[in-house]
């Protein structure tokens, strides 16, 4: 349950929320861009390790005999993704199915961190900070990598590059670039083609630019909002004392709200991972097909 334990944040509600939304950062360059969100990177690494442990290390022991329970789950996920990719993507590329599996699995594990009690790890972190003799007020930790815009955007850009690569490799350089000017509006005759090419190019550029943005913002928005609502639920008993009657009333309300939102969030984290994967598959298959 989300009970506020951070003494560093104080009883100040705004301070508490801002503290929660602050990344543990490392400045590596002069500009604002040259910053690394260490918490995002560390928890991404953990999620990658979990995912790879399940789908690579464990998969190497997969037998063709009677599968165990864990192997059945892994195989069910793999078959589900494989079926989805085979249904939608008709190109030659062998990377699409593993990539879709990675998108789904990795995003699911990252999203899953949102279900951990919102204050638990930051509380441990600030405790560790005080033990090390640092100011716990500067112990920032945001554990959900997908609630950091960098992660969805990085993945969406990776998908964007894969879309271009698949388009180039499936169609060839000439056809790939020719379609910038000939689709989606098809014209007959040379004059029509010349007249329509600027509109085609403009639409294509907008389309390509919008895809990573919509892909990343959809996931980021959902996870960020989810995290924020967990924070707001946690605020219900912020700085509460046992002597106050309102604490008991709000504490019960907090329990119900937190339980309800966590249950609902199980659906959201799965759905968002699924949507990210399916849209990526759709973009990739559109890139592989001629227009």
């Amino acid at each position: 349950m989300a009970t506020p334990h951070e003494p560093a944040a104080g009883a100040d509600m705004t301070g508490y929320i801002q503290h929660h939304l602050h990344h543990w950062q490392l400045q590596v360059g002069d500009s604002a861009f040259m910053t690394l969100n260490l918490d995002t990177l560390i928890f991404t690494l953990l999620c990658c390790a979990t995912f790879l442990g399940l789908f690579v290390l464990f998969a190497r022991r997969a037998t063709a005999g009677v599968p165990g329970k864990l192997q059945s789950i892994v195989e069910a996920v793999v078959l589900f993704v494989d079926g989805l990719v085979k249904e939608t993507f008709h190109g030659k590329s062998k990377v699409i199915a593993p990539m879709s599996l990675t998108l789904f699995g990795l995003i699911f594990f990252m999203n899953f961190l949102d279900l951990l009690p919102i204050d638990f790890l930051p509380w441990l972190w600030s405790g560790a900070h005080s033990l090390a003799g640092h100011d716990p007020a500067h112990a920032y930790l945001r554990i959900v990598p997908t609630a950091d815009l960098n992660t969805p955007l990085g993945m969406a850009l990776a998908v964007f590059f894969m879309v271009q690569y698949v388009g180039l490799s499936e169609k060839g350089v000439v056809k790939f670039f020719a379609e910038f000017f000939t689709a989606p509006f098809h014209a007959h005759g040379a004059l029509g083609k010349v007249l329509l090419s600027p509109a085609n190019l403009l639409l294509r550029l907008i389309e390509e630019a919008v895809r990573p943005v919509s892909l990343s913002l959809r996931l980021f928005g959902n996870m960020y909002a989810g995290e924020l609502i967990f924070i707001l639920i946690a605020v219900m008993t912020l700085g509460a004392g046992i002597a106050h009657a309102s604490t008991w009333f709000l504490g019960f309300g907090q329990f119900v709200a937190d339980f309800g939102w966590t249950a609902f969030h199980i659906l959201i984290i799965t759905l968002q991972a699924f949507i990210f994967m399916v849209l990526s598959i759709v973009y990739l298959s559109m890139a592989a097909e001629s227009h």
Partner: protein, 156 residues
């Protein structure tokens, strides 16, 4: 909140994970699944084959039983026929033998009877002659009454 260098790292990390999964994870899982599918398909087809073979064997056994039954029936029939023939022949042989024996016995009896009759006849004649002699010793000359005596002998 603002995008920073993290997104580059995240993108590269994503590609690394994809590469690892594609290289070391995916083929193993799909390979295991496909191998199992092949094994199951093989097992099913073998079961089908075995079932068909069993049905064939059953049919063959039924055929064999039918054939054996027919053969047994024919053997029994033949044996019965043979037995009847043997009995028939034995009866006929017996009849022939009996007839033969009867004929021999009849001939024998006939011969004995004839012999006895001849004997008897001779004896009766002698007796008659002796009787007559005794009676006629005094009155009848045997020579004188010879023709009469002969006639008597033939008549007896």
């Amino acid at each position: 909140m603002n995008p920073n260098l993290t997104l580059v790292v995240q993108g590269l990390a994503f590609f690394a994970v994809v590469w690892l999964v594609m290289k070391f994870g995916w083929p193993h899982i799909i390979g295991a699944i496909e191998e199992r599918q092949n094994r199951i398909a093989e097992g099913l087809s073998q079961a089908d084959k075995a079932r068909k073979e069993l049905a064939d064997a059953d049919a063959r056994v039924a055929e064999e039983i039918k054939k054996a039954r027919v053969e047994a029936t024919s053997i029994v029939d033949k044996a019965q026929q043979q037995a009847a023939q043997i009995i028939d022949k034995a009866r006929q042989d017996a009849i022939v033998e009996a007839t033969k024996q009867k004929a021999i016995a009849a001939a024998d009896i006939e011969a004995q009877a004839h012999k006895a009759r001849e004997e008897l006849r001779g004896k009766v004649a002698a007796l008659a002659v002796a009787g007559a002699e005794k009676i006629l010793r005094r009155e009848i000359d045997a020579n004188a009454h010879k023709s009469l005596l002969d006639q008597l002998v033939t008549e007896i």
